[in-house]
């Protein structure tokens, strides 16, 4: 390994007011390498990507591109130097159609289209306004836009986090090919399966500092986790599920009943029950109607047919407030949807308190504070930058969206992919919280795009495919291959080889051209 690094950054620091997002980060990427950038939430990964691609200026540091010092002051300059990012948040301008967005960045249209198809979206209309495109597809479009200009270094910030398994697989394939053709990819992900399938080396950040660079070899996960968390201990396995009994006793009258729910062409006949004290998982590939199911339960859309029952009583929701009054709280997958970004942590958590007309009067500040503080403590939200929620790291923002409903003491929580793009530590905390809630007799409906979470958190799994419930598993049978098959609409028991994610237990995937381990 004597070739000059394509990109070599060292001593990078960045301060936001009093918050040091990066202290002393370094990162060196060789040609032909897929390089993982790992770290807990708030470690500074996104900040580093933004600095390398000129989106924010560094406070200190040295950046070499192909051995030459380059001052990358703007995304355009980074682009000229061959560095293209896909940031953690979608970057198409919502009010423009895809084509105008492409023109804006001078992206050639034909290669873009080819990449979009390659990435598993055959039917994109580039005249669609970005606002109307689902989040997962937007992420893929961002990637295609970067690929279309053939970057030397591609920087992917949690690219696969919001993607369903089928799209994520395509992305992994494309990333691997980038590496094979002598280009480099910086790949941020919290999923070890992907890292081990794809990456040659990993740089680990902790609290804004590079704490290690490791080769990806079988069993390196433990080491990485150790580095990421420092002294902190992780492997707290989720508390044993004691809720099954509770669920059994309450089964006579379910907390939430969904009967033959339909919505347009997206939701065709969904029925299931959710008991008090239960966490029910929902598993589905992208766009199988799970969004609509949650939106209907949250009162955001009105189902075209079927019924929703709460405590045995049929309900009709015309506005989210109706669902909230029935004790159903919805935590959307996209944090930006749920948070007033310029407002404080406190105001965001307390938002539902003021919603109803009768609560528009003076706020009892002491009582509010007590509730907010107890929710903050329960979720262990890092409040260093609490003046504006937008300054928190993604994981802490996600915690705020959940804390709101803990403070409001909602009886049923509808969590839509709450652990997307969150570090291992925070994920564990959220799993634990959901189990605790169930232990206290609350119920949770939990959609997840990460199949391995199902066995950690859920009592039962509801699998949706093509807008229908195709299977309901007890958790004991819900191992990843079984779930994956069910999610693809295959009958239980049938065997089929479905790409690298189907078998997460082998550390190197079966795919033949995998770089797998470094020499």
């Amino acid at each position: 390994m004597t070739s000059t690094p394509l990109l070599d950054a060292s001593g990078v620091a960045k301060n936001y007011g009093a918050v040091a997002a990066l202290r002393n980060a370094s990162l060196s990427v060789l040609p032909g390498e897929v390089h993982a950038l790992m770290g807990a939430n708030g470690a500074g990964k996104s900040t580093l990507v933004k600095i390398l691609t000129g989106a924010v200026p560094a406070s200190a540091g040295r950046i070499l591109i192909r051995g030459e010092a380059r001052d990358v002051r703007s995304p355009a300059a980074a682009r000229r130097a061959g560095l293209l990012p896909v940031y953690q948040e979608p970057s198409l301008i919502p009010d423009l159609d895809v084509l105008s967005n492409l023109r804006l960045t001078g992206t050639p249209v034909e290669p873009f289209r080819a990449w979009v198809r390659e990435l598993g979206i055959p039917d994109l209309d580039i005249r669609d306004t970005a606002r109307d495109i689902p989040l997962a597809v937007l992420r893929v479009l961002d990637l295609a836009r970067a690929l279309a200009v053939e970057p030397d270094v591609l920087l992917l910030d949690e690219m696969t986090a919001a993607l369903p398994a089928n799209l994520a697989e395509k992305v992994l394939e494309v990333v691997r090919r980038q590496g094979d053709s002598g280009r480099a990819v910086i790949f941020i992900s919290h999923r070890f399966v992907e890292i081990s399938a794809l990456c040659d080396r990993a740089t680990v950040l902790r609290d804004g500092e590079t704490v290690g660079v490791v080769d990806i070899v079988p069993g390196v996960e433990e080491k990485i986790v150790e580095l990421m968390l420092g002294a902190r201990i992780v492997k707290t396995h989720v508390a044993a599920r004691g809720a099954n009994q509770a669920a059994a006793t309450a089964a006579s009258r379910p907390r939430l009943g969904v009967r033959n729910l339909r919505f347009g062409t997206k939701l065709n006949d969904v029925s299931f029950d959710l008991a008090d004290g239960e966490v029910a998982g929902v598993v589905a590939l992208e766009g199988q109607g799970q969004d609509e199911l949650f939106a209907a339960l949250a009162g955001s859309i009105r189902p075209s047919a079927g019924a929703i029952e709460v405590d045995g009583q049929p309900v009709k929701f015309t506005h989210p407030i109706d669902a909230i009054r029935a004790g159903l709280a919805y935590v959307p997958g996209d944090r930006a949807e749920a948070l007033a970004m310029q407002r404080s942590v406190r105001e965001n958590i307390a938002l539902p308190f003021s919603a109803a007309l009768r609560n528009w009067g003076p706020i009892n500040m002491r009582r509010e504070r007590a509730k907010v503080v107890s929710a903050i403590e329960r979720l262990r939200i890092d409040t260093r930058a609490q003046g504006e929620v937008q300054r928190l790291s993604g994981g802490n923002q996600q915690k705020v969206t959940i804390a709101r409903w803990i403070a409001a003491d909602a009886r049923t929580i509808l969590c839509f992919d709450p652990t997307r793009g969150i570090d291992v530590g925070t994920k564990q905390e959220i799993y634990k919280l959901l189990r605790e809630l169930a232990g206290n007799g609350k119920s949770v409906l939990f959609y997840t795009s990460e199949l391995e979470e199902v066995q950690r958190v859920c009592d039962r799994v509801i699998v949706i495919f093509g807008g229908r419930v195709v299977d309901i598993f007890p958790v004991e049978e819900a191992d990843e291959p079984a779930l994956m098959r069910a999610a693809y609409g295959l009958p239980r028991g049938a065997k089929a080889d479905i790409g690298i994610l189907a078998d997460p237990h082998s550390s190197s995937p079966e795919t033949s051209d995998s770089p797998g381990t470094t020499p």
């Binding site: 040295r62 070499l64 749920a338 105001e347 938002l351 500040m365």
Partner: protein, 326 residues
């Protein structure tokens, strides 16, 4: 080899951060600078009487700017405040000739409530852009007022003593208008920071979708907001007629754009979610002092306006640079 290396935090940046944390300070400094310039240009002008006078004229502007502040927090604007103030003033002055003052007051406030309600429903329910909606009702209101003027042309007009006392009177050298303004301002500040409604104004302006998911009904907040804004404008009209003492069909119209400017100078973002009323009050004072300053320069009206506009632009841009951290 070093490409980006910035060492210790220079004084300028530290100062900037200090100001960013306390956005009122640069505004107060600007206000003081303006007063000092005035004193230098006309030594002795800044005395007790001048201060009382400035406050008297700043108050109506500050209340209207309060309307703008609250609507701007939600990402809106209320351009109908001028018309509403004019209507209530004009109706008061003409009705009080033949009616009991209390009845005249109620009649005067009716168009305010009505226009506020129409604005609120238009913006909150039918989602008309606030700029268009309030401009529309403002034009309609002006039209109605012209029709109304013909019907009362014979009866004449009169300024109720109480309003004259409130608008122009001084007690121990302190403007009586403060009796109205201080509680009102305190109420607005309290509402914005310590009530559920105030919280919702900020939250709705920041992320309407998030408030919806939290159970907020947008139309309720917006309707209440525009009614409140209009009622405040109506009250301002009554105060203003006591100050100006000459009812006309365009009485408060010249205050509309300055009221927007005062809120913006005071640090309220027209995109919503950011700002507050204390800044707005200082903004209104700054604009009032600026007007005096330009008046004593004895420039032609046109030049004065050009200069006024340029200064407002410059101040706002500079202020945003200071306060917004990059």
């Amino acid at each position: 080899m070093s490409t980006t290396a910035i060492q210790s935090v220079p004084l300028g940046r530290r100062l900037k951060r200090f100001m960013a944390d306390r956005p009122l300070i640069p505004l107060i400094i600007l206000l003081v600078i303006l007063v000092v310039i005035l004193q230098i240009l006309r030594p002795g002008i800044v005395n007790e009487r001048w201060i009382a006078n400035t406050i008297k004229f700043a108050i109506p502007l500050a209340i209207l700017a309060g309307c703008q502040t609250m609507t701007m927090l939600t990402g809106g604007i209320d351009l109908s405040v001028g018309t509403v103030a004019t209507m209530s003033a004009f109706i008061m002055a003409t009705q009080v000739v033949n009616q009991d003052p209390a009845v005249a007051f109620l009649l005067a406030m009716m168009p305010a409530v009505l226009i506020g309600l129409v604005n609120g429903i238009g913006v909150g329910v039918f989602r008309v852009h606030p700029l268009i909606m309030t401009l529309g009702t403002s034009l309609i209101g002006t039209g109605c007022l012209q029709v109304y003027q013909r019907t009362v042309i014979a009866s004449g007009a009169k300024i109720p003593d109480f309003l004259a006392w409130l608008g122009t009177g001084l007690t121990y050298g302190v403007p009586n208008a403060l009796l109205l303004f201080v509680p009102l301002a305190a109420l607005i500040v309290f509402t914005l920071s310590r009530t559920g409604f105030g919280r919702l104004l900020y939250a709705v302006g920041d992320n309407e979708h998030a408030t919806r998911l939290s159970g907020v009904r947008y139309w309720q907040v917006i309707s209440a907001l525009y009614v409140i804004s209009s009622v405040l404008a109506g009250i301002t009209g009554l105060l203003y007629i006591g100050l100006i003492k000459a009812p006309s069909l365009s009485l408060a119209e010249p205050l509309v754009l300055p009221s927007v400017a005062a809120a913006v100078i005071g640090g309220t973002s027209i995109f919503g979610g950011r700002g507050g009323y204390t800044g707005t009050i200082i903004g209104a004072l700054i604009l009032t002092v600026l007007t005096t300053l330009l008046t004593i320069l004895q420039m032609p009206e046109g030049a004065r306006r050009i200069l006024f506009g340029l200064i407002v632009l410059f101040v706002t841009a500079a202020y945003l640079r200071i306060v917004e951290e990059r």
